[in-house]
Amino acid sequence: MAAISRDEVAHLARLSRLAVTEQELDTFAGQLDVILQAVARVGEVAAADIPPTSHSVPLTNVLREDVVINCLTREEALAGAPDVEDDRFRVPRILDEEA
């Protein structure tokens, strides 16, 4: 059985707002399936005594004191923006969603 279906790939593409053609869906579904199957092999070698790992370093509680640092200037902050209006990042509207 495939690790990821063509429909799931189409759904992920929609969530990411990527325009994907029918032909690309076939290609990506096949490629992603190979990747996921390869990764899934890790699960085959993990014994019951090995807990799932999300972080490779055994650290906890890396915290910061609540002290203000210098921010970027507005010019620096907006320097990489694709477009600027009224000192704000200007982006295309996103339909059907509300903040």
Binding site: T60, D66, V67, V68, R90, V91
Partner: protein, 499 residues
């Protein structure tokens, strides 16, 4: 939806049992953001409180704010929650420009605090609201929609984004479903948010101002026939005042009952509350949890709060507001109704501090709920920002008690204090408002009043002591209110041989 066919609230609630749930977001009052050192103060020019971390620039790494973790644990403890001994942050992925990273760092299946409760009073009864979870996340930036006629997203062609708010620590507090409140559901919802606000204010971790958005509320409502399973719920967003919390539940109960009575089904959806009309309207279709593709945040290591530290935070918690109110009500000897008016006016601390500064509870309550509440209302500001301090109110009352000011003059002195002219004593002296205690000057005024009102004087001489009021009034007028009415009255009666 035709409004003409909507039932009244009483009709709507008669056939159904409501279940409510509340999600509350609280912006913490830390100095800096959740994962970087940018300042958090309200206001500021757009995009001036941002850095590579909160802008999600490549190569930047978040580091959690210790003060925010501590504040969240304290909120959890104050809500009787268990505190996780180990938990992780998670990425919530979604496509919207209010977060520059294209995800929000939140917590998913491992919240910092779980399984608590908050008791609230409604209609003389105690209702226990279960707390499902308290978790920590980061606030989003502010988007401004332009290009359309209305400024709303529909019809807009562009969005302008300010990331000053992006990354401010945000605590989300989620209740368990609350069944069994019947027709009181709207009031229970309001009482819960009111009490939650008091608890958080008491902890000093947020200014919890709904009008500034540092406390925001989403309200879930469902209806079921008695004996049936719970119905499908809707989530109402944009509920930005205590009054709106109550109205949103009421409106949603009426709307849902009309749909159900008409044979329709409730759709699980997000609805938006309108402050103007009190209506709710459908919002965007909610992405499901799987659509957010949550996964453990790889850039942040897990949190493992030391149990000894958590215990020390628990021991240092302030007295719960509800216990405090009960203690205060008893010591001040107030009725439930009087205490409620003190609480509603936001005057508990102010009166408490005034009493600590030497005034009686009755006098402190009189000034704060009377003259000062009136001025705060007129100016449209909180009582605490009215411009008088508890110490000044106590000083004012001392001046009244010692006879240097009467009630009317004291009100004028308050005006000066509120206007920033100094302490009550300074205002009294600067404005020459002290009660005229010079008996010579008073006697002259009394004689003048008697001479000007011979008919009244004659009545008093004949024993009609009540008529002396008119003469007292005349003396108060000539002394511009600066005489002590009781002294004047005694002088008049003495003069007319009626005492």
């Amino acid at each position: 939806m035709t409004t003409t066919t909507l039932p009244t609230y009483d009709e709507a609630i008669a056939g159904f049992e409501p279940v409510i749930g509340l999600e509350t977001h609280v912006e913490l009052g830390t100095n800096t953001k959740m994962f970087c050192g940018c300042p958090t103060d309200f206001g500021g020019e757009p995009n001036t409180r941002v850095c590579p971390v909160c802008l999600g620039l490549p190569g930047s790494l978040p580091v959690a704010n210790k003060a925010a973790i501590e504040a969240t644990i304290r909120i959890g403890l104050a809500l009787n929650c268990s505190i996780a001994t180990w938990c992780r942050f998670a990425r919530k992925n979604y496509f919207y420009p209010d977060m520059p990273k294209n995800f929000q760092i939140s917590q998913y299946d491992e919240p910092l605090c779980v399984d608590g409760y908050l008791d609230v009073e409604v209609d003389g009864k105690t209702v226990r609201i279960g707390i499902e979870r308290v978790h920590l996340e980061e606030d989003t930036g502010k988007t401004l929609h332009v290009g359309g006629a209305t400024g709303r997203i529909h019809g807009a062609t562009e969005s302008l984004v300010d990331y000053n708010r992006a990354g401010i620590p945000l605590v989300e507090i989620v209740t368990k479903p609350v069944p069994g409140t019947g027709a009181l559901a709207p009031e229970v919802a309001r009482a819960y948010v009111t009490e939650l606000r008091e608890v958080i204010r008491g902890l000093g971790v947020s200014d919890v101002r709904m009008e500034e958005g540092s406390l925001r509320c989403d309200v879930n409502t469902s209806l079921n026939r008695p004996g049936d399973e719970w119905g499908t719920r809707t989530e109402t967003k944009n509920v930005n005042s205590l009054r709106s919390v109550e109205r949103a539940v009421r409106t949603e109960i009426i709307r849902q009952s009309a749909v159900l009575e008409g044979g329709g089904r409730i759709v699980q959806e997000t609805r938006h509350f309108s402050e103007e009309t009190g209506d709710t309207r459908p919002g965007r279709s909610k992405e499901t949890a799987t659509d957010y593709r949550y996964f453990p945040e790889p850039d942040l290591v897990p949190l493992a709060p030391d149990p000894a530290w958590v215990e020390s935070l628990r021991l240092a918690l302030p007295e719960p507001p509800r216990d405090r109110r009960k203690r205060i009500q008893e010591s001040w000897g107030l009725s439930d109704l009087d205490m409620q008016s003190v609480v509603n006016a936001g005057a508990v601390e102010l009166i408490e501090e005034t009493v600590a500064a030497g005034a009686t509870a009755a006098a402190a309550r009189k000034w704060w709920l009377g003259e000062l509440a009136r001025r705060a209302n007129e100016a449209g500001i909180d009582l605490a920002s009215v411009g008088a301090t508890p110490a000044q109110v106590a000083e004012l009352q001392t001046l009244v008690d010692s006879g240097k000011l009467n009630d009317k003059l004291a009100r004028v002195v308050i005006e000066g204090v509120v206007a920033g002219e100094g302490s009550p004593t300074e205002v009294m002296e600067a404005r020459g408002l002290a009660v005229v205690s010079d008996t010579g000057a008073l006697t002259a005024a009394v004689d003048e009043a008697i001479a000007a009102n011979p008919d009244v004087a004659a009545k008093v001489r004949d024993g009609k002591v009540a008529a002396a009021g008119a003469l007292v009034g005349a003396v108060m007028k000539t002394t511009k209110g600066q005489a002590d009415a009781k002294t004047v009255r005694e002088l008049i009666l003495e003069r007319l041989g009626a005492s």
